[in-house]
Symmetry: C2
Subunit: 142 residues, 2 copies
DNA sequence: AGTGTAATCTGGAATTATTCTAATTCCGGC
DNA sequence: GCCGGAATTAGAATAATTCCAGATTACACT
């Protein structure tokens, strides 16, 4: 498991051949390394450009394939803001996203301790949540 | 203001000439009436088909224009689920959306009384939220 | 090492929701 | 009734993503 505290860019070669049941190909390693290297929520195109610097032959279709594989194996999170292009996030902790309207930057926002969604939403008995996305926009303080 | 409890489809002619500062044209009335008539979160295309039954000359571009006008004047809410096409909702109360994976249906979900977002999220001092979207998927109970 | 097989990768075409454009029509005020 | 701006329209354009079909690679077994 890759720590989020990790500061320097991970070396793609360091990933085991099989992560969470996903066979790690050269391209998947590179895409994952790109996403872990910076926590700026890049788009597929951003990932493509960055991956190309070390792997000039990678194709955009492959980046999409890898992202889909990584997301479905829960190694990366897909982040959506309204109808903008999807972004990708290496933070696997429960969190949501805030886009600062002035800078365009997307910030991770954690839930306060002990908060459960069932506590704040009027969900009928027996509801099971399989997917949740919370997206905020505005002026991010500090 | 149009009540949400309203059961029968509203007559487009009943809307005043100016709603929330938005000039109500024939097409905008029709689009709004379509959205108020059923609470099923139709897509732009759904709205287009329905509007055509009473107004065969309306164009899809106009439906998009009207939706954008209605949304930006807060008469209608735009609802997004991941990368699916946008849907439109007449419920102006604070609420979020739950898509039942079995039926595909989208349900409105209210917040419990007295819940404030600041209570559950770790937002830095001075943050101002201008837009918020919460989308859930799973098995909707009941 | 060599072979078979399935998975993956690739470049380009296709898809599709949405936006843009430019011409026409409409509307409220004079 | 006329003017000017706003709205509508059909169709073209855009852009993110997905699909496709052939080439490449990786793994399993000999
Ligand atoms: Mn700010
Ligand atoms: Mn159900
Ligand atoms: Zn994140
Ligand atoms: Zn709704």
């Amino acid at each position: 498991m890759i720590s989020l505290e990790q500061q320097k860019a991970p070396n793609p070669e360091d990933f085991p051949p099989d992560l969470e049941g996903l066979r790690m190909t050269k391209q998947r390693r590179e895409v994952l390394a790109v996403i872990l290297a910076e926590r700026d929520h890049p788009t597929a195109n951003d990932v493509f450009s960055r991956a190309q610097t070390r792997m000039p032959s990678i194709s955009l279709a492959t980046v999409y394939n890898c992202l889909e594989a990584l997301v479905s194996h829960r190694l990366v999170r897909q982040v959506n803001f309204e109808r903008e292009s999807s972004r990708y996030c290496p933070n696997l902790a429960d969190h949501c996203h805030f886009q600062d309207e002035a800078s365009g930057k997307i910030h991770d926002v954690n839930f306060k301790k002990g908060v459960k969604l069932e506590d704040i939403l009027e969900l009928p008995q027996g509801t099971e949540i399989s997917h949740l996305e919370i997206s905020l926009k505005g002026n991010f303080g500090k």
